[in-house]
Symmetry: C2
């Protein structure tokens, strides 16, 4: 099992553990950003609900990602289910403009390379 990336300690991709590299290690795991995104968009939700919204995630990976996100302090568990922490919300807010860029990307691909 891969250990949790922590800024300041060697992570996959950086011996120095530059914070951004630690974050990339964490968020660059399959589904990590998708989970944070879904959770931030949808508000508090249960494990199963999250699983449904993520369409194709397997429970083992969801559980693992949730554990990592919890340990990293991006997600926590409230009475009504999993929710992003303020720190998690902040990361999410930086992810939002990526959604806009993604839409433009989609438009560009449509123009240059219609299916």
């Amino acid at each position: 099992m891969a250990k949790l990336p922590k800024p300041g300690q060697p992570v996959r991709g950086s011996r120095s553990g530059a914070p951004i590299m630690a974050l990339f290690d964490l968020l660059g795991r399959r589904w990590a950003m998708g989970v944070l995104w879904t959770l931030s968009e949808g508000g508090a939700m249960t494990f199963r609900e999250l699983q449904d919204r993520c369409e194709t995630i397997s429970p083992s990976v969801l559980n693992q990602r949730l554990g990592e996100l919890k340990q990293a302090g991006f997600v926590t568990r409230s009475a009504r289910g999993y929710v992003p922490t303020p720190l998690g919300e902040r990361i999410y807010r930086h992810l939002v403009p990526l959604g806009d860029a993604a839409r433009d990307w989609s438009d560009i691909l449509d123009q240059s390379d219609p299916v």
Copy 2:
């Protein structure tokens, strides 16, 4: 070999291919964000130089990520080496504030959980 995620087509994580999910699929592969980041920070550079800066990346993975980023239109190859495209630059600019958040994250961890 995993196929290139394209918005509008089913990707890992979304049957509908919502642009953001296609982007998450692409960027959520090991080293994808790190490569884009390194390239944007350092300007045009050769394969080997990129490999050096990424410290621990293997050439096979670097080559694969570069191919994906090229196909996605985020990176291209100029006379002086690999460079991000305008679209790639744009993604990068949205990644920058994540670096700030990562530093704060690092500070928080230092306070709450000193090694």
